[in-house]
């Protein structure tokens, strides 16, 4: 019964969002059925549909987990966006500086002479650690500020998002861009820092599809979060702090420590987006690469009830929409792929205001009266 309720509300929220979205589609003169067929159906073709959908789901799993861990500690991490930017840049920086390849514009002296020429077996983990570490630090700062000064993490994470974007864009523009490159992107990382695309291992999946080992890492991260939160003392303390801070404190748990810890873990998880983006996909830092992954992560976590399994499923759903958006753009008269943003927003509002579904549900006897 409890499980049913956990699944019921997110499901209703999604259906309600689709109905509202359908009305918008209808009003602007397209067929909702055809639009949704494109939006959802485009994800299941092999290999492109499935490959790209899983690739798009990867960052959302990471940010969804990030928001979920913070949520379990009673914190709202709106800063995953900034954390993943810092992390992606850190991963690229290590990939450039420790990969042994000097970057040079054609005909110009090389810039960014590397510090070291590490072998792949060390370089790849080092890049990953850099990403997770940078994310953890960027997430830990608002945690620390909250623990030390009591300033609200929501505002601080929002502010740190903007600071992260500006900071990373500064480093890209002034220090790590190939001179003369018109695009705001860093130099390429060393080929030794690349991680394999899954097409290498799966027959029938071409390597041009950027689905890469980071997806496997995302699954492992789901398991890690589950074990952390429900099977370890740390996780227990994080959840206790989230559920009832004063009781937790009375029980001997240092709330301040838990806040910093949860925010750092959250930031680290968000930082893993950088692994997918830099080591597995673009092989460089690309300014402004994130399609609001950090914010969509909030929707993913909420819809997934802040549970790793739920996060995985919700990330898949949103990835399906993102994939379908491209086809909606191309094959409908009026509707554009922006409908995906709209649907995500509506889902968030409906999930947040789930109380509105309780009344009607009670009427139809689907819920016990006591559970209000």
């Amino acid at each position: 019964m409890k499980l049913l309720r956990e699944i019921l509300f997110p499901l209703i929220a999604v259906v309600a969002a689709f109905i509202v979205g359908g009305i918008v589609v209808l009003l602007i003169g397209d067929s909702p059925i055809q639009t949704y067929k494109l939006l959802i159906g485009s994800a299941f073709s092999w290999p492109d549909g499935i490959g790209y959908t899983l690739f798009l789901a990867t960052p959302l799993i990471f940010t969804g987990l990030a928001v979920a861990v913070a949520f379990r500690c009673g914190l709202l991490n709106i800063g995953a966006e900034g954390q993943l930017y810092v992390a992606a840049f850190a991963a690229a920086w290590v990939g450039i500086k420790f990969g042994g390849v000097a970057v040079a514009a054609p005909g110009a002296p090389p810039i960014n002479t590397p510090y070291a020429n590490l072998p792949m077996l060390i370089l790849v983990p080092l890049c990953c650690i850099a990403a997770v570490g940078a994310g953890a630090i960027w997430g830990g700062i608002p945690g620390l500020l909250k623990a030390k000064f009591g300033s609200h993490e929501v505002i601080n994470t929002i502010m740190l998002n903007f600071i992260a974007v500006a900071l990373v864009s500064y480093f890209t523009q002034y220090h790590y861009k190939i001179p003369g490159d018109a695009i705001m992107q860093s130099a390429e990382i060393s080929p030794k820092a690349h991680i394999a695309r899954l097409g290498k291992f799966i027959p029938g999946l071409p390597e041009r599809i950027p689905l890469n080992l980071a997806f496997i890492l995302a699954i492992l991260a789901c398991i890690f979060v589950y074990v952390l939160l429900w099977k370890t003392k740390w996780g227990y303390e994080i959840r206790a702090t989230g559920q009832n801070p004063s009781a937790a404190e009375y029980g001997g748990i240092s709330i301040r420590k838990q806040i910093i810890l949860a925010m750092a873990i959250s930031g680290g998880l968000a930082g893993m987006v950088g692994i997918n983006e830099v080591l597995g996909y673009r092989y460089r830092y690309y300014d402004g690469f994130s399609a609001n992954y950090g914010f969509v992560g909030i929707a993913v976590a909420l819809l997934g009830r802040n549970h790793p399994v739920g996060v995985f499923i919700a990330a898949m759903l949103f990835a399906i929409l993102l994939r379908g958006g491209i086809f909606v753009d191309a094959f409908t008269m009026h509707v554009s792929k922006d409908i995906v943003d709209m649907l995500q927003g509506i889902v968030i509002v409906f999930v947040a205001a789930e109380a509105m579904f309780r009344g009607p549900l009670k009427k139809f006897g689907l819920m016990k009266k006591a559970k209000v």
Partner: protein
């Protein structure tokens, strides 16, 4: 440095601060009543898009402005229903609204104007006027010759003047009227306000709706005042800067306006310095560091290094009447 501090910098500061002031004062009404308003960004986008498209059809900025207010209020009602009636998490709801209005205007403009996310250009004479244009339109004869030397008074947008009046009006309402007292009471101690016979939720609805109306005007100023069309995500984080200014201004009207002016000044400086100013060593001054100023300042203020900035006590907590 000297060549930077000139009239155009002053103008550009006023211009860039105006939408911030309107949105921030909007946020003030909502937050002083106890409802966090992260959705200022989404409200501004709703206002900006509605203003641009309605002005395009109606050929009048005033109808466009009115429509923007209606749009802001409509979205605010959604927020209020979710946060007050259904006790949804206020921050989460606001985030949802922000994402929603990243998409919705783009979807609608795609359908209405067959463009990807922007509205058609609006002719100059159909934009929100400056004070000079406005006075000239209604009574051409009121202008004696000495006016041009007072350009600072007449070349600013009428909306800038309205924003200033809104600030003064808000300061008065908040501190000198029964409604202001109730608004503050509801945000600080809803139980006591309730016991005194104030309807907590009604005041909160009003607070959120006012914030929608003002943020809507702020958005309209962006699309049909400062520029002449709506583009996708044209607020570019201004809703969040407004929020930062509100905190920096300690949730007080005049201080909040000053914070908006400071942040507007930082923005204006960024634009002026692009490619002009050099460090003594001859290098460009990276604009990114100036862009960061409002955000860094907010974090420092919030941490209590520059005076305490204390949020309304009951902010973020849905009010549950005792039975």
């Amino acid at each position: 440095m000297r060549q930077l501090l000139n009239m155009s910098l002053l103008f550009s500061t006023l211009r860039l601060s105006t939408p911030l002031v309107l949105a921030a004062i909007g946020g003030l009404y909502s937050e002083r009543s106890g409802v966090i308003n992260i959705a200022l960004e989404g409200l501004m986008l709703a206002g900006a898009f509605t203003a641009a498209s309605i002005t395009f059809y109606a050929s009048s900025p005033w109808i466009g402005l009115g429509a923007a207010i209606v749009a802001g209020v409509a979205v605010a009602v959604i927020i209020a229903l979710a946060c007050i009636r259904f006790k949804a998490d206020q921050v989460v709801t606001g985030t949802g609204i922000n994402i929603m209005f990243l998409g919705l205007p783009a979807v609608l403009s795609g359908a209405l104007f067959l463009s990807s996310g922007s509205t058609p250009q609006i002719p100059r004479d159909q934009l929100l006027p400056t004070i000079y244009q406005f006075l000239e339109r209604i009574r051409p004869s009121v202008f004696p010759d000495w006016i041009p030397s007072w350009r600072i008074l007449t070349d600013v947008s009428l909306i800038t003047l309205i924003a200033l009046l809104v600030v003064l009006f808000t300061a008065y309402v908040l501190n000198r009227t029964p409604f202001g007292l109730r608004l503050r009471a509801v945000g600080e101690n809803p139980e006591a306000a309730d016991a005194a016979g104030v309807s907590v939720n009604k005041i909160r609805y009003l607070g959120v709706i006012l914030s929608g109306a003002l943020a809507g005007i702020g958005g309209a100023y962006l699309s049909i005042g400062q520029s002449s069309l709506f583009t996708r995500n044209m607020t570019a984080g201004r809703g969040f800067i407004a929020l930062a200014a509100l905190i920096f201004g300690k949730w007080r009207p005049v201080q909040t306006m000053l914070a908006c002016l400071l942040f507007g000044f930082a923005d204006a400086l960024t634009i002026q310095m692009q490619g002009v100013a050099k460090l003594p060593s001859g290098e460009d001054i990276p604009v990114q560091f100036i862009q960061m100023i409002p955000y860094v300042v907010t974090i420092i203020v919030l941490a209590g290094f520059i005076g305490q900035s204390r949020a309304p006590k009951a902010i973020g907590i849905p009010y549950e009447k005792e039975r």
